[in-house]
């Protein structure tokens, strides 16, 4: 069944969010989300690679043989990752340094290969672009949310500084309100949230919340549909 273009775009943000629903791309989601800006830049970088690879694979879908599709996709994805890395090295070395080894790891990010195999190889270029944008934005939002929560709880600040520009918001006042200060009066954040166990905890809680939200919304939609059916039943028939 073919969905509308809007559906292809929006599904990546909510209904089929790659991190919180499909559980794809968990490695960068856990590893780089120690600062808010890292989450945002990682998400945007992945989105660009996703966009480029989806376009390219959709253009070549009729020419790539079925039994050679996986190595072909990997070559295309690796090419775009390399191009992005070279561009970041040239124009934004701070972002390149901040993300480090996780930029080359985008090549083996399940989201990109998954979307290439499941969508771009079977749809037009236009729909592949919408799918890539939706999935990329969904991935970026998920990473930003995880990073924001981890940094607020684990470091007591929100870092939006990139290339030497941008603010860093210190949340000392908030910690003082909740009494989370040490003997010297400095804020005492929960370091565990900056470490891998904390990342798992936050991600797990967000996944549970997403699951609850989707189940709750599905129930509401079902109730509304039933109400509409009942009201349609009671309507008098037209002559």
């Amino acid at each position: 069944m073919k969905h509308s273009n809007w559906h292809e775009f929006i599904k990546g943000i909510y209904r089929e969010n790659p991190v919180l629903v499909s559980l794809l791309g968990l490695c960068p989601s856990l590893a780089v989300t120690t600062q808010t800006i890292n989450g945002i830049t990682m998400g945007l970088t992945t989105t660009m690679v996703l966009l480029g690879s989806n376009i390219f694979i959709s253009l070549l879908k009729k020419h790539i043989p079925a039994n050679l599709r996986i190595p072909s996709y990997i070559v295309v994805i690796a090419t775009f990752v390399t191009l992005i890395k070279i561009t970041l090295e040239a124009f934004s070395p701070d972002v390149n340094e901040a993300l480090g080894i996780f930029i080359p790891l985008i090549v083996v990010n399940c989201i990109i290969l998954g979307r290439a195999e499941a969508f771009a190889s079977k749809n037009t270029v236009g729909r592949s672009i919408l799918d890539a944008l939706g999935m990329g934005i969904g991935f970026t939002l998920a990473l930003t949310l995880v990073a924001l929560i981890r940094e607020v709880l684990g470091a007591g600040q929100i870092t939006l500084k990139v290339a030497g520009a941008g603010p860093v918001y210190d949340l000392k006042g908030l910690f003082e309100i909740f009494g989370l200060v040490n003997d010297q009066g400095e804020k005492a954040p929960f370091l565990i949230f900056l470490l891998p166990p904390g990342a798992f905890i936050i991600l797990g809680l967000l996944m549970g919340f997403m699951n609850f939200l989707q189940t709750h919304i599905k129930k509401r939609i079902l109730v509304l549909k039933q109400k509409k059916l009942m009201s349609d039943k009671n309507k008098p028939l037209k002559d």
Binding site: T82, L83, E89, P93, A98
Partner: protein
């Protein structure tokens, strides 16, 4: 037949095109990458030595920093260690004229974003100020950090902290003799003056030069070991 032909040429064609695209991109941006690297290094050097005017490059790893009046105001040491959490970590270390650490900056690394990269935090770097970059003055392991530096190692980045220590003490002994450079310059000047007033016979001059070269060579071999 057509499918077989497609199987044969498609993947090499994609690979060839990808290689050409990457090569073109790299060729187009190569100078920009070099410029960005140099600008970043110059920024770091200017931050370490705001009064620095001349950077005398002794070798790829060591520079002597002079001010406007050509006085030595410090040294810059490029050093590295291969045992960081993700691989090699590279540093630029600023030393004062007495060869004590003024500051340092990790320039290249493969460490975990947000954890190992905290080595560049001002609070961690401040603890090393005024310490000599030799193994006797720096911590050996995580437990030595409070005694020798007055701080703990970075939480969640112990491996990177220890790699930093090893990098800071890696090359300092090779260049510490430059601390005595002003003294040697003064001695050389006085000696030249003496030579003018009391000229040495030619054959003794040759023997003396040869002997000095031999001693310097033996000294550099002994220090690098």
């Amino acid at each position: 037949m057509k499918t077989t032909k497609q199987n044969i040429y498609m993947l090499p064609l994609i690979t060839l095109f990808s290689g050409l695209l990457i090569a073109f991109f790299y060729y187009a941006l190569f100078h920009q990458i070099e410029r960005t690297k140099t600008q970043k290094e110059l920024k770091i050097k200017a931050a370490f030595f705001p009064r620095g005017e001349y950077f005398q490059k002794v070798d790829p790893f060591f520079e002597i920093v002079h001010d406007k009046e050509k006085n030595i105001i410090g040294y810059l040491l490029s050093t590295s260690d291969h045992s960081g959490y993700g691989g090699e970590v590279k540093f630029i270390v600023a030393l004062d004229p007495d060869f004590m650490i003024l500051d340092f900056q990790m320039t290249e690394n493969q460490e975990t974003p947000g954890l190992g990269s905290k080595v560049n935090d001002p609070q961690f770097r401040k603890a090393f100020k005024g310490i000599y970059p030799f193994p006797e003055y720096l911590p050996d392991n995580k437990k030595d950090f409070p005694d020798k530096l007055g701080i703990n190692a970075l939480s969640g980045a112990t491996v990177t902290s220890l790699a930093t220590i090893r990098a800071l003490s890696a090359k300092a002994d090779k260049y510490v003799h430059y601390v005595y450079q002003p003294m040697w310059d003064a001695v050389q000047k006085a000696f030249d003056q003496y030579e003018v007033e009391n000229p040495t016979p030619y054959y003794i001059k040759i023997w003396r030069e040869r002997r000095i070269q031999q001693e310097l060579y033996e000294l550099s071999q002994g220090v690098s070991q």
